[in-house]
Amino acid sequence: MASESSGRTFQEYLEHHLQNLVFGPLPEGHERKFYSKGETTSEKEIYCQDKNMDYDGEKYCKETLSQDGWYLANNKTDIEAMGFWAFHIDTLFFSVLLGGIFLFIFAGAARNFSLYKPGKLQLFIEMMIDFINGVVQGTFKAATNTLIAPMALTIFFWVLLMNVMDLVPVDLIPYPAELLGIPYLKVVPTTDLNLTAALALSVFILYLIFSIKSKGFVGFIKSISLHPFGPWMLPANLFIEIIDLIAKPLSLALRLYGNLYAGEMIFLLIAGMVSINLAELTFTGIGLNLAGITLSLIWAIFHILIVVLQAFIFMMLTVVYMNMAHEKFEQH
């Protein structure tokens, strides 16, 4: 397994793969730790001295920051010190890249649309537009809002593309990146709660906006306070409705995140069975390798289903919530 080549245990390998690349502010006096390289303690010490850092006598080189600044986090303590104003560079990079690819392809198709001679790509895109349009028109009854269908399209394809990154072999991108000096790299943006929460929160904000717009502010307040038991049970109504309200973005965010994170985790666990270390190529080692390759293939094939399904569910629920937001308040 790739972890062994960089001298880590399987536990560390897992943790490493499940950690985003964080860029954030570190205060003056913060102590940063880096893995030292080398076989023996003396080699490690020399490595640290080459980098102008202290050696802690075991695995790490240490550096105390002389001033505040923005850094790439190197371990958990760095990340904790960064607090809220830190960015997951890998999530942002891959999500924006994939979203850009999606919009580039679709906008290109829109610009070069041929009425009489559609190409294969255009036919595919038309099929997708038709599919999304069908879903939206079947679910979303207040036809006046033109934002819903394009948003559904964006969500479906963006999430789908991000999920598909899960099918890229787990070490294919992070390992070369590590050789280039990037400490962490998670290539599947949807395994980052920040992204799924951002999507869910955006959808939730739109839900609130459209709710208030269609019901009026008073109507919206009524809809969460006079439901489902009538005005005599107002506190209970509020309690239930607010939980119901908050459950929407929460379930939306956690469903996608949980599915993809678990999928990624299983890929990682399977990857742990595969080794490229020649010393481990005993009979059992070969058996484990074969089992790992087979399992990862099976899981990848199964995962194709999850990848598409989760993207579809996210889109579908968004449309459903938008439809609920546009419903007029009715006294029951």
Binding site: N20, V22, G24, I79, M82, G83, F84, W85, A86, F87, H88, T91, L92, S95, V96, G99, F102, L103, F106, A107, A109, A110, R111, F113, L115, I125, E126, I129, D130, N133, T146, L147, A149, P150, M151, L153, T154, I155, W158, D192, L193, N194, L195, A197, A198, L199, L201, S202
Partner: protein
């Protein structure tokens, strides 16, 4: 798993993507697809209509053909009868003319005959009178016919 400012960045990215899709991707694609759907519908309608029109035109042409045939026949018939009539007329005219010419010739001839007879009578009378005069001059003398004259005078005196 910790939430951090990535959340805000992702929300902005999501907003931009949705906005871009809303403005520049969805409407032109949908409009183009609807336009094509309309064109296909129109094309099918047009082809149906033109098929109908072709049938109608065929019928029309058949009708026109029969009509033209009928007309042609009528014209032919007309022409035939006309020509027959003309021949008939010409015949009657010719026979009338013939009769007229023959009639006038006859009357001319009759006239000529009458004239000739008259002339002949005249000539004959003259020559008879001359002969009579000659005969009379030789035969007639007062002495021979004194008694006759006298008798006549007596009658007159009476």
């Amino acid at each position: 798993m910790n939430l951090n400012a990535t959340l805000l960045g992702q929300m902005i990215a999501f907003g931009l993507f949705v906005w871009f899709c809303w403005k520049f991707v969805w409407p032109p694609l949908l409009a183009a697809m609807e336009e094509r759907a309309q064109k296909i519908e129109q094309g099918l309608k047009d082809s149906e209509e033109s098929a109908k029109k072709i049938l109608e035109a065929e019928e029309e042409s058949k009708k026109m053909l029969t009509k033209a045939k009928n007309e042609a026949k009528k014209i032919m018939d007309n022409a035939k009868s006309q020509s027959e009539k003309m021949v008939e007329e010409a015949k009657t005219k010719a026979s009338d003319e013939k009769e007229r010419i023959v009639g006038s010739a006859q009357s001319e001839i009759e006239k000529e005959v009458v004239n000739a007879k008259k002339n002949l009578e005249k000539d004959f009378a003259t020559s008879v009178m001359a002969a009579v005069k000659k005969i009379v001059a030789k035969e007639v003398s007062l002495s021979n016919h004194q008694d006759t004259v006298d008798k006549s005078l007596d009658d007159f005196r009476k």
